[in-house]
């Protein structure tokens, strides 16, 4: 996937766009995480603002609704002093028949410096990145099942924060891997950072074909897959997948793959529990675990702001 790397990383090794964690070097990922360290402290101050992107216009263009993710990008941009414009395109232009690229060209004509894009189709961010003017940066905030790189990076930040070193970790990703852009972004980043034992756990109907070629081990039994893990990452199960051809019911999913205290007891005693949010309590995760001492789900959100600030500042100062 050299092409992807060339699209998002320039010949000088600098980040031009952030489209996927696949192909990012370990050095570049560490650089982003190190940079995020500094922004965590910004967010702890009374005045939570630095002037790094003053005068820059960042367009949050969401072709698929997501208040949560859009808000985290908005906060990150505002803490960098950028001007933020939010567009919920799913209910405006495209319903009038405007194409994706026309929408982008129109916004570009308003002198956007950076686009944060979410779209229901895999590859939408790549398409946009290939067509924007030089100097305009694109951040993929989730494209179909493909990638959600800032989520993947904030998860790396979280793991590093609690576990320090990736080189001896066992990490399990549990649930609907098939439809999960988050899982893909985590897998690429974890492999690049040298995690030696990476597992995915779920029923066969929610496991993509040939996923082991991404460097993961596949487990279908939760108890076995989670054994002695240092990190347990639960994926969100979309409502529309809960009852149908791929899964009989949310209740049965919870019985087999929901994270309960019992199941978690098979992981290492100091294992951390992560979830990209929003959680379905009682479907992927039991409340006692979600709110328990091993859960780092809320710190993930806090770190997410810092990681997005780091990415935006790197792209905005290019």
């Amino acid at each position: 996937m050299n092409a992807a790397r060339n699209l998002q990383v320039g010949p000088d090794g600098r980040l031009r766009h952030l489209l996927t964690t696949e192909g990012l070097s370990a050095e570049l990922i560490r650089h982003i995480l190190d940079s995020a360290d500094q922004f965590v402290s910004v967010s702890e101050r009374d005045v939570k603002k630095v002037p790094l992107l003053r005068g820059k216009s960042i367009f949050n263009v969401f072709f698929e609704g997501s208040t949560r993710t859009r808000t985290t990008f908005e906060i990150a941009a505002k803490r960098l002093s950028a001007d933020v414009i939010n567009l919920n395109v799913s209910v405006s232009s495209t319903s009038k028949g405007e194409t994706l690229l026309d929408t982008v060209y129109n916004l570009q004509a308003m002198d956007a410096d950076m686009f944060v894009v979410r779209h229901a189709q895999s590859g939408a961010a790549h398409l946009i990145a290939r067509h924007v003017k030089p100097g305009v940066a694109v951040i993929n905030a989730g494209d179909g099942r493909h990638a959600h790189p800032t989520q993947g990076l904030l998860d790396m930040y979280t793991i590093r924060h609690y576990k320090k070193d990736f080189s001896a970790l066992s990490v399990a990703i549990v649930g609907d891997v098939l439809h999960s852009r988050v899982a893909r972004s985590q897998i690429h980043a974890l492999k690049t950072l040298g995690v030696p034992d990476l597992r995915v756990i779920g029923p066969k109907t929610l496991m993509p074909n040939a996923v082991e070629r991404l460097g993961v081990r596949v487990f279908h039994a939760m108890g076995e897959g989670i054994r002695d893990c240092d990190v347990v990452i639960m994926l969100r199960l979309q409502n529309e997948r809960m009852n149908g051809a791929l899964l009989p019911s949310a209740a049965e999913f919870f019985k087999c793959y929901g994270l309960t205290a019992d199941k978690l007891a098979r992981a290492k005693p100091d294992a951390i529990v992560m979830h990209p949010g929003p959680m379905n309590r009682g479907v992927e995760i039991d409340s006692s675990v979600a709110d328990g001492r091993q859960s780092v789900i809320l710190p993930q959100v806090t770190f997410g702001i810092a990681v997005r600030m780091a990415v935006m500042s790197m792209l905005g100062s290019a």
């Binding site: 992807a4 699209l7 194409t99 189709q121 895999s122 590859g123 790549h126 398409l127 074909n209």
Partner: protein, 424 residues
């Protein structure tokens, strides 16, 4: 008008001829090869030493986009592209708008194509009215209007019962039914092969079993009805194996492969190249290699361009929303030559896959240089390299995944019924 093509390497797969000779053409037909007929005086002599002269190429699938999709391509633009690629006979699928399900539409298309004085167009009629899969099209009427077979295109038949009726009815008259083997339910929503690339890219998949399940059903029903079936666009090693086994049992089936599938695989989708959005999908390298071998071995009868001009707007969208297909009439010859060289094939055997072998499937008098046959000739420079530049293609469709590729083999002149219709 008498024409002599002097000193070319004459390669005629149908007869096995491969020698430097002259071709003598009179009254639009091949008069003789080698020695001039008595009293032959050429009105024009083409000095062709160093060039290859073979029968005009026969393409089993080229979408001409008329009627209905003139913004993608026109009959005129695509027939120019055909002869620019050395293609003098082609079958066009019925998936126009409206589909070719009425004799009047077919007659109009062939009449207009004839008027262009390029190559010959043999339409495939719609198997069902409107390609809707509900009612059989008037096959006998359509055959009288010039249809050489009946095809459902990329549209699905609703169930095996409809397939049974269609094959049974076609068998009544001895018509050939063309089917693209793909189970619509297993393929639904998919845009890429169910392998590593689709998993990496997060694209919905079309599994190999969509092809094999459909093939088993088609082969069973074809055997039961004694219908003649042509399987269009195989894509997988498992599919090839099923067809090989059926043929060994004496099944009356033929099959083809699209030329892209001989050279590309699912890895080429990275990253989200909509030009690689094709139907069937590009599969694993092992599938591609099986297709290449099966074409060489004759299990696959012919290679076709599967030419599908698509406008830029329909490709400049996220991968899954892009219209499938690639423009390939002008690439059929060089890409087939490339495959033949890489497989260490004889030039004669290589050219058989785009001349005599597809002509036999269509059952039309083309793809041969036998005396008396129509003088459809492709003259090409086997060693001339060129770079695929979309803007330089004659086709209105500039959509090709081979942009920038250096290929070898350039058409110098195309002759249809003794008339030069294209000159480089």
């Amino acid at each position: 008008m008498k024409l002599e093509i002097r000193g070319a390497r004459v390669v005629d797969p149908a007869s096995g001829r491969d020698a430097a000779e002259s071709i003598f053409i009179a009254e639009g037909a091949i008069a003789a090869i080698g020695k001039a007929p008595q009293g032959f005086r050429a009105d024009e002599t083409i000095e062709a030493a160093g060039l290859v002269a073979c029968p005009g190429l026969v393409d089993l699938s080229a979408r001409l986009r008329e009627p209905g999709f003139e913004y993608k391509a026109t009959l005129e633009s695509e027939m120019r592209a055909a002869v620019a690629g050395g293609v003098t006979t082609l079958a066009c699928p019925p998936d126009t708008d409206p589909p070719l399900d009425e004799p009047g539409l077919v007659e109009m298309l062939t009449r207009r194509a004839t008027g262009l004085e390029c190559g010959k167009v043999h339409p495939l009629g719609a198997l069902t009215v409107g390609l809707q899969g509900e009612r059989l099209a008037e096959m006998a009427e359509l055959a009288d209007a010039g249809c050489v077979g009946f095809f459902q295109g990329n549209a699905a038949l609703p169930d095996a019962a409809m397939l049974l009726h269609a094959l049974s009815y076609a068998a009544t008259f001895g018509f050939t039914v063309w089917l693209r083997p793909e189970d619509a339910h297993l393929a639904r929503g998919g845009v890429a092969h169910d392998g590593e690339a689709a998993t990496r890219l997060g694209l919905a998949a079309i599994p190999v079993i969509a092809e094999t399940v459909a093939l088993r059903t088609i082969l069973e029903i074809a055997a039961a009805t004694e219908a003649r079936v042509h399987l269009a666009r195989l894509s997988s090693a498992a599919g090839v194996a099923l067809v090989a086994e059926a043929k060994s049992r004496g099944a009356r089936v033929s099959c083809d492969v699209g030329v892209h599938h001989l050279h590309l695989c699912d890895r080429d989708l990275a990253d989200f190249d909509a030009q690689c959005n094709l139907r069937p999908p590009l599969r694993d390298p092992s599938d591609r290699d099986a297709l290449r071998r099966a074409l060489a071995a004759g299990t696959i009868d012919a290679v076709c361009s599967d030419h599908t001009p698509v406008d830029d707007d329909a490709k400049q969208v996220p991968f899954a929303e892009a219209e499938a297909g690639a423009s390939a009439l002008e690439l059929l010859l060089p890409l087939t030559l490339k495959w033949g060289r890489e497989m260490r094939m004889d030039l004669k055997d290589t050219l058989g896959t785009v001349t005599s072998r597809p002509a036999a499937i269509l059952g039309v008098g083309a793809g041969t240089l036998a005396p008396g046959a129509p003088a459809d000739v492709c003259l090409f420079d086997e060693r001339a390299p060129w770079i695929v530049r979309p803007e330089a293609l004659a086709s209105q469709g500039k959509n090709t995944p081979f942009q920038g590729l250096e290929v070898t083999g350039r058409v110098v002149r195309t002759i249809v019924a003794g008339r030069t219709v294209h000159r480089a």
